[in-house]
Every structure is written in C-alpha cells, then in structure tokens.
C-alpha cells in the first residue's frame, strides 16, 4: 500500500537535492547555512518516522538556529534571462500550460479514481491520504511531460526548485512549525483556559451577546491558533453548545456551520495561518510579509459581521 511515507521520501529527496545545489554554489556567501538548513529538513522527511521524538525535536531546533542566527541570505539566481524566457514563451505558446494544468487535473482524477483501486484485496493507496498521494503522483506526471516536451537538462528541475525554495526561505517551514505549536497549545490546555476566561468575564445572558461572543471568539481564537479547526471544538464546547443550543434553543447545525465560517474570517487576518498568508507573500516575492493579510482584512471583518447577522437571524428560527 502506498502511504504518506512514500511521499515523504520523495519530498526528502527533493529537499536534499536543494541542499546539494546550494552547497555547490560557491559564489553564494550563505551557501553553507542554506545547505545545513535544507539538509536537516531533508533528514526529517527521510528518517523522521524512525527517529526518536527527542532527536526530531533537536533537528527542528537546529534548523531554527541555523536560520535565525546564521541567516539564509537571499534567494538563488535566475537561471534564464527575461529575453530567453520571452523567446521560449513565443516558441512553446500555450503548450506551456499543459504540464501546469496536468497537476490539478491528475490530482482530481486520482482523488476520485485511486481510492477504490485494490491489488489482491489490499488498497493500492492509503484511503485516508488519497488527495496528498494523488498530488504527488500528479506532480511526477507533470514533471515527466514537461521534461520530455521541453527537452530540458536533467538537473533543471532541482536547480529551479532550489531557486524557488530559496526565495521562499524559512517561510517554507513556518506552516509546519505552527502546526506543531498548535499541538503543544492543545497539550497544555490553552483552549480550556480561554473558554473559562470568556465565561467568567462576558455577561452571556442575552442571545445576541452570546452569538457575537461565539462568532468573534471563533475568529479571535483562530487568529491566535492560525487554524479554525483548532478553535472550533474549544469555542463550541465552551460557548456554542451550552449557551446557543442549550440555553437559547438554537439549531446546532446552523450554529456549527456558520461558526466554522466565522473562524475562517479569522484565518484571513492572521500571520499564524502561514501557509495561506505568509507563504504566498514569500512565493510572490513581496517585500512586506503581511501584504496578503492587509488585502484580506476588510473582507474578513465585513464577512464576520455578515456571519454574526446570519447566525442571529437563522439559528433561532429553524
């Protein structure tokens, strides 16, 4: 059965390749730091499953120290000039879109098609990870098509991956770090403390106050945790179920659906949701790492107000 482990090995090989290209780039003054950073990251992919938790923890701290104290410098150099790229764009035309669009197309096809494939009664791919495995597979297909079509040198993909990965830099690891932090928050019982505080300090004796507290609480808690999924159980167990449903007789389905979407308003507004907000700023080479958040804040605030109104008018009616 193909599971996540296979994908991690592929990721590990790619990140190791990025470390090697960096190491070999003699003119780059930060090449050793970059090689160490991506090298350690590659180890966590290739061997993380088998290493003791404590060793993995030390590896992570090692990466953080290399990046924070040593510094990762600037991104890798462009491999083709603007003129070369424009000439190539004219030559290949819209055929260039083919590999790019193969990624989503094959991912979707795999997600729906691979789940039921069985070999000798055993599922071919881990049913709970079909999407991730399909994405990896789709990327390999797109890479093969792209390489054959463009007749690019064998080392081109890894050299290009290095260029992009270096321009993203430490932000590439941030989403995973935040997910780990979320787990520690949960372990230490942060959610419980927050809901206790809310219950103590806000007078929750009117329906509208309760609805506002629940929706705004979902958004704020998501802003802190960076993830509405982490906020939902805490806020719903602390305020939603006992008050909106229990005390005021609201409909649990409407409350939960709109409550989760209130959390998403928070996701739009927080650097803690790094994969949605900080990573794109790095990917798009924006000088302000909060540029995407700044664009999203007005939509987030207006939608949160809309969600509060919707919940108030719907939840007690159906």
């Amino acid at each position: 059965m193909i599971g996540l482990e296979a994908v991690y090995v592929l990721m590990g090989l790619m990140v190791a390749g990025i470390a090697i290209v960096n190491f070999a780039d003699r003119p780059d003054r930060k090449r050793l730091n970059k090689a160490a950073f991506w090298g350690i990251y590659a180890v966590t992919f290739l061997f993380g499953t088998h290493l003791p938790d404590f060793v993995n923890g030390l590896l992570v701290i090692g990466m953080v120290l290399v990046s924070s104290i040593g510094g990762l410098g600037r991104g890798g150099p462009e491999s083709a000039t603007r003129e070369e790229r424009e000439a190539s764009a004219r030559r290949w035309g819209s055929r260039l879109f083919l590999p790019a669009l193969l990624i989503p197309a094959v991912t979707v096809a795999g997600t729906f098609g691979l789940g039921d494939v069985r070999v000798h009664g055993v599922p071919l791919v881990d049913p709970s990870q079909v999407t991730v495995i399909s994405l990896a597979l789709a990327t390999l297909v797109a890479l093969a098509v792209g390489m054959v079509m463009l007749r690019a040198p064998v080392r081109a993909p890894i050299v290009e991956a290095r260029r992009l990965m270096d321009s993203v830099g430490w932000a590439a690891v941030l989403p995973q770090m935040l997910a780990a932090l979320g787990a520690l928050f949960a372990l230490a019982g942060v959610g419980h403390v927050v809901s206790t505080l809310v219950n103590e300090w806000i007078p929750l004796d009117r329906a509208i106050v309760v609805v506002i507290t629940y929706a705004v609480g979902m958004a704020l808690f998501t802003i802190v945790m960076g993830n509405a999924f982490a906020a939902f159980p805490v806020m719903t167990a602390g305020i939603g179920l006992p008050l909106i449903v229990g005390k005021f007789g609201g409909d649990p389905a409407i409350m939960a659906a709109i409550g989760m979407l209130s959390g998403y308003c928070g996701t739009l507004m927080t650097p803690m949701a790094a994969n949605f907000n900080i990573v794109p700023a790095a990917l798009l080479e924006l000088p302000d790492q909060n540029a995407v958040i700044k664009v999203q804040i007005p939509t987030g605030i207006v939608l949160l107000a809309v969600n509060i109104a919707l919940m108030y008018f719907l939840v007690f009616r159906y």
């Binding site: 701290i61 190539s88 989403p175 787990a183 999924f229 939960a256």
Partner: protein, 233 residues
C-alpha cells in the same frame, strides 16, 4: 493562566516582527514548560508534532515542475494570453478566478487552485498582465499590491467555497464533534447552511475587486475610452 504565556510570546513576537521561526519555537517551549512538562519532554513533543505534520509541506513538491515551466516562459505566456483579451482588467480577471475557485471548491475540487501551483505561475502574471495592457508600465508598489490581491482571491475562494461540499475536512470535523456531544446532523444540512456565507463572501470580495479596478484606473489613468463602457450605454 500560565499556559497562556506561549500565546503572549506569539502575539508580541509577531507584532514586533521578530524572527518568526524563533518566536514559534520559544512559544512552544514556554507553553510546554508552563503546562508542566520538563525540557526533554517539550522538545520531544515538538519533534513529534513537527514530524506528524510533515504533510503540510507537500505543497512544495510542485516546485520543480513550476520552476521548470517558469524557466521556459510560463509566466510570460500567461501574461501575453491575457493581453489579447480586450475586456480583461485586473479586477475582472481576479473576480473570474474567485468565482471559479468557489464553484470548484464547492464541488470538492479544492486541489484545482493553490498558491504555488496556480497563483504564482498563472493567476498573478495574468492579473499583472491585464494592468500592463491597460496602463502600460505599472509601478513596483502597485505590482506588489496586484500580486497580494491574487493570493487573496485564492484564499477567499477556497475558504468560502469548500464548506458547501459534504465530504470536506471541516464538515466532517463538525459532524464528528457534534456526534461526540450527542447531536446527529447530516453533512448535507451543514453544507446547506454554509451557502449564505459563501454568497456573501463572493459579493463582498467582488465589490472590493471592482473598487480595486477603479483605484488602479484613478492611480494609473486609463487610456481614453477604456474606462467607460463601449457602445454608448
């Protein structure tokens, strides 16, 4: 109360724009220690959680392909293509993508978009290209703003589209959680009540994109005849 110290570290650290990786690591250690773990256990817990969450990094696996295509002129091609569509403005390109992203996400096709595979190589160059066609040279600052807007439509589209699909993670999470608390709801019911917010999200963000187009027009000055609708309406 001490357990909230880690949250404080994150809030202060991010507000002061300190090194984000360091802030998160310190916050994690502080939270663990405040929660009663010893240093060895905190590091182990951090390492375990980091390893368990490796799947988050899977988005980077597309970089070799995207980089290869970029080297061959993918972004330039995306830009040229949009330049040929006369009615295309930055705001309209982004609005069309927003609609497409919401609709496909509501059918469960969330992997059709994404920052690394769609926004960087295709959507952002198209949005920039539309502005270039209309206004000629676009100042760097405006270019960054256009790109940030491209990233935002991908997020808004997927967040407020996916919950209409019954088998998406969040709907299953809600169903599971309510079930644990003795309440049985059908995923279709949850999906149904996500529709009003989805519609509102499109309306709110689309209006903002119209305003963004106007702002570009005002700041960069539309070519004569381009700003007004054609055909004398």
């Amino acid at each position: 109360m001490l357990t909230l110290l880690g949250v404080l570290v994150v809030v202060v650290g991010f507000a002061l724009r300190l090194d984000a990786l360091l802030v998160v690591t310190v916050a994690g250690i502080v939270t663990g220690l405040a929660g009663g773990l010893d240093l060895h256990d905190v590091i182990a817990a951090f390492g375990k959680a980091f390893t368990l969450n490796r799947y988050v990094a899977i988005v980077w696996f597309v970089l070799p392909v995207i980089g290869l295509l970029e080297r061959s002129g993918l972004k330039e091609r995306a830009r040229d293509l949009i330049a040929r569509i006369h009615a295309a403005t930055t705001g309209r390109v982004l609005m069309a993508y927003l609609a497409l992203r919401q609709i496909t996400a509501s059918m469960g096709l969330t992997s059709l978009g994404g920052q690394a595979q769609m926004v960087r190589p295709l959507l952002a160059p198209m949005a920039e290209g539309a502005a270039e066609t209309r206004y000629g040279d676009v100042p760097e600052k405006t270019r960054y703003l256009i790109r940030a807007n491209a990233a935002a439509v991908d997020n808004v589209g997927v967040f407020f589209g996916e919950d209409i699909f019954i088998a998406i993670g969040s709907i299953l999470l809600i169903k599971g959680f309510l079930q644990q608390n003795g309440i049985d709801v059908a995923p279709t019911t949850l999906a149904k009540w996500s529709v009003p917010t989805a519609v509102a999200a499109f309306v709110v963000h689309a209006v903002r994109l119209v305003l963004f187009d106007r702002r570009l027009n005002r700041e960069l000055g539309g070519r004569p005849g381009d700003a007004a609708p054609r055909g004398g309406r």
